[in-house]
């Protein structure tokens, strides 16, 4: 079998496995949602007060940017499970026993990721055609002008995300939740790297298109120059905004990109980088060798205590003798009550178990920072970090039973669904209250009841959000991605309304977030019930 055929079969099998899952439909649904958001103006590209006339060039450029910016972000989280799935299904061990090389495997996975994300871009392209045909104020259809930016910007950007997903899955420290958080900042950095200088007169350096992986700099740069030629008073601002808060009031005619050599090189660069990253991933890939994980575990075990290998005594006969001597005390019929506090304590312990000492040291440092800083500084500067630190504790909420296949053990217990859900939520609340407790003490001392209300609402809201996303998605990625992005936009930049932590006076609507928390817990319960055949 030729290499190409092996690669084709790998990608095909992986793709088929994915498209037959509900999550793939959700991914395509997300693409349609993005297209709809563009259609309604919720997602809009604007240059100060201007937007383009709704021709194929403008629509293609907007959807092309949406594809490269948003699909490259969300798509990463959608496809970052290709290697993990092989690990969990144990198909990986079968593959590892074949002559398949590590580089070939990681390349195949990156390609498979690319095909999935490419399908999302294609859906956006199809949606763009529909919008152009039936949109309210759309001008005539020019298919090539419409689709070229979508396919070139979208496909090249998601190629890099596809390869990064494989790289993150193979690098041990980035495989889990840490990687999900790190990617958000990597993505942000890559976007910022490509953003053009604010004024249209300023020239981008010659290498700018090469590092502009989403194409945002190339596209906006050309638009800025064209608009400036039309309106010299245009100041050079540009944004791809969400929410449509300040809709543009003027229009200009955008004729489409100048596909010069630098622009085309900019689209090739992410693909080349993706290829290199996929090959780099092979260096870190453990080829499903369980010994690598065990080696770390074994070192830890050796540190704690030496134990009898496999727990078996040397003499089998002696072992059987112990068996007959073993005794179980019958339990009274009254045992097995609804002891929620004990279960909450167990959930807290389960949540914290396995965290290293340095994790507690940093959490304690942030707590002291909250308690010792002036109240305004503590709220605005330290609290956001105190509440991003336990992110991975919260993201495991509602997902552990799925992740570790303990559902059958846990949910065959009496009243397990509501009890375990409440206990898990309470554990999350305890962690939130404990890690952010320094600020609460300062607020109590300062008698800042409004601030305390916002703080309490956040304590209730954060774990509720984690629980609902965990219960419905079955994994921690959704919370890790959403919370990190929300944390960046809201609490870190103190944006009123989306600042759920209340980092400045009046920036949070405490009652709203508290009510949302209650609602989310109810939705999480419904999710649990939905996922279990019998509850």
């Amino acid at each position: 079998m030729t290499h190409a055929r092996v690669l084709y079969q790998m990608v095909r099998a992986d793709f088929l496995e994915r498209v037959r899952r509900t999550s793939f439909l959700l991914a395509l649904g997300f693409s349609l949602f993005l297209a709809y958001a563009v259609y309604t103006g919720e997602v809009a590209l604007q240059l100060d007060d201007y937007r383009g006339v709704a021709n194929s060039a403008w629509l293609g450029s907007v959807i092309g940017l949406v594809a490269s910016v948003w699909v490259s972000l969300i798509g990463f989280y959608i496809v970052k499970n290709a290697v993990e799935r092989d690990r969990q299904t144990r198909v990986g061990q079968i593959l590892a026993s074949t002559p398949l090389s590590k580089a070939f495997y990681t390349l195949g996975k990156a390609l498979s990721n690319f095909v999935v994300l490419g399908a999302m871009v294609l859906v956006l392209a199809l949606a763009a055609v529909v919008i152009q045909l039936f949109g309210r104020d759309s001008r005539g259809m020019d298919l090539l002008t419409l689709l070229t930016p979508i396919l070139l910007f979208g496909m090249s950007a998601v190629a890099l995300s596809a390869a990064l997903a494989v790289l993150f899955e193979t690098v041990p420290g980035l495989r889990g939740g840490v990687g999900n958080v790190v990617y958000f900042f990597v993505w942000m950095a890559l976007i910022l790297l490509g953003v053009p200088p604010a004024l249209p007169k300023a020239q981008s350096p010659y290498w700018a298109p090469i590092v502009d992986y989403t194409g945002i700099g190339t596209l906006m740069g050309q638009m800025q120059r064209q608009l400036h030629a039309i309106d010299p008073l245009y100041k050079g601002g540009s944004s791809l905004s969400v929410g449509g808060l300040n809709p543009p009031t003027k229009t200009f005619l955008w004729n489409g990109l100048d596909w010069n050599a630098a622009t085309l090189l900019g689209r090739v660069a992410p693909v080349v980088a993706a290829l290199l990253l996929a090959l780099l991933a092979a260096l870190f890939f453990d080829r499903f060798d369980p010994a690598r994980g065990k080696l770390r575990g074994a070192k830890k075990a050796a540190k704690s205590k030496s134990v009898v290998a496999d727990g078996l005594p040397l003499n089998g006969a002696a072992q059987l003798a112990i068996a007959s001597a073993a005794h179980l005390t019958p339990l009274a019929k009254s045992e097995g009550r609804n002891r929620l506090p004990a279960l909450i304590a167990a959930e807290v312990r389960l949540m914290l178990k396995g965290k290293r000492m340095w994790w507690y040291v940093i959490a304690a440092g942030l707590w002291v920072g909250c308690a010792a800083s002036p109240l305004e500084v503590a709220r605005a500067g330290v609290l956001p970090f105190a509440w991003i630190w336990p992110l991975l504790l919260w993201s495991a909420m509602g997902t552990r039973e799925n992740q570790f296949t303990t559902g059958a053990l846990v949910f065959s217990a009496p009243n397990a669904v509501p009890r375990q859900l409440i206990a898990s939520y309470a554990a999350g609340v305890i962690v939130a209250a404990a890690t952010g407790g320094g600020v609460a003490i300062r607020m109590l001392v300062a008698a800042d009841l409004a601030g305390l209300g916002a703080w309490a609402a956040a304590v209730l809201f954060i774990p509720a959000l984690a629980l609902v996303l965990g219960a419905w998605s079955g994994g921690g990625k959704a919370f890790e991605a959403l919370y990190t992005a929300w944390w960046y936009v809201g609490p870190l930049h103190h944006i009123r309304g989306v600042d759920f932590m209340g980092t400045t006076a009046g920036s949070s609507t405490a009652a709203g977030y508290a009510a949302a928390a209650l609602l989310l817990v109810c939705v999480a319960y419904a999710g649990r019930k939905h996922k279990l055949a019998l509850a």
Partner: protein, 297 residues
């Protein structure tokens, strides 16, 4: 104490029927549920453990339909699934303490019980070791321990000896026998010797249907006089397989000793004492090809 399985059917998507009108009445003792892989055993176990909802029929525990009130059974249920996981960062004691809390045991009772169980499953020495470093057999023993945490009246164990070495397997069989006094134990397996050693009753399942329900002695009696031991040269084994129903083969210096099931012996065969494995093969073959064999169970 009574568990009634009444006309239980389970259908999955695309028309796959895992269980079809399955009925059984259970009283204290060990029921060995025997069947090939894919016969529907795990689906039945999952329904009895209140994890899966049946498509039709009812499971009634002491007069209560568990679809209406699953907690009536869950309070007294111990369940060891075929596939289960553990939390790798917890040690054995912590994991059992967690599940004891989930099952509603108070702290003192849980601690006492856990110590006894760890001794019972021979994991006392490994009690403080993270479960992530446990071997498959050790994990299985943790699974057995968690199933016994709440002193269950109904103990369901699905392929419990998978991953256990021969000594552990014997140990587990002894344990099941000791436990069976005042509780219902359902042991699902495709390993006949596990059932032979422990079961007071046997249910045979094939293609989601109950083929037979009887005591081991009654099952064996069905094939008494129909089991033959026959020595054939290795080269003729395949031909023998095509002509006769063979329950087992053993290679020896004088050829292959095969156990043939049938009304008439092959030429040169001698009558052999019937065993449970013979009865198992006989019943399942009869279910598959009812016209080819006489008599029934």
């Amino acid at each position: 104490m009574q568990l009634s399985i009444r006309d239980v059917t389970k259908k999955y998507g695309r028309g796959v029927v895992a269980l079809r009108n399955f009925s059984l009445e259970l009283k204290p003792g060990v029921l060995g549920l025997l069947g090939h892989n894919g016969a529907g055993k795990t689906t039945l176990m999952s329904i009895l453990a209140t994890i899966t909802r049946p498509s039709g029929g009812a499971v009634v525990w002491n007069g209560v339909d568990i679809a209406c009130d699953p907690d009536a059974l869950r309070r007294v249920l111990g369940y060891l699934p075929q596939d289960f996981g553990v939390y790798p960062n917890l040690n054995a004691v912590e994991f059992l303490e967690y599940l004891a809390a989930v099952k509603g045991l108070d702290g003192a009772t849980a601690r006492r019980r856990i110590e006894e169980l760890l001794e019972l499953v021979n994991l006392t020495d490994a009690r403080k070791r993270p479960l992530g470093g446990f071997s498959g057999g050790m994990r299985q023993r943790i699974g057995i321990a968690q199933a016994l945490l709440n002193d269950p009246e109904l103990l369901i164990v699905d392929e419990p000896t998978a991953g256990l070495d021969p000594e552990e397997r014997v140990r587990f069989r002894n344990l099941l026998s000791d436990l069976s006094g005042e509780r219902i134990v359902i042991l699902s397996t495709h390993i006949v010797s596990d059932v032979e050693a422990t079961a007071t009753d046997i249910a045979l399942i094939a293609k989601g249907e109950l083929v037979a329900h009887a005591s081991p002695e009654e099952l064996v009696a069905q094939v008494e006089g129909r089991v033959w031991e026959w020595v054939v040269p290795s080269a003729e084994l395949n031909a023998a397989r095509e002509r006769y129903l063979i329950s087992s083969t053993t290679r020896r210096s004088d050829g292959v000793h095969v156990r043939v099931l049938g009304e008439e012996p092959p030429r040169g065969a001698i009558k052999a004492l019937a065993a449970l494995e013979d009865a198992y093969f006989y019943c399942l073959r009869q279910q598959r090809q009812p016209l080819a064999m006489e008599a029934g169970v």
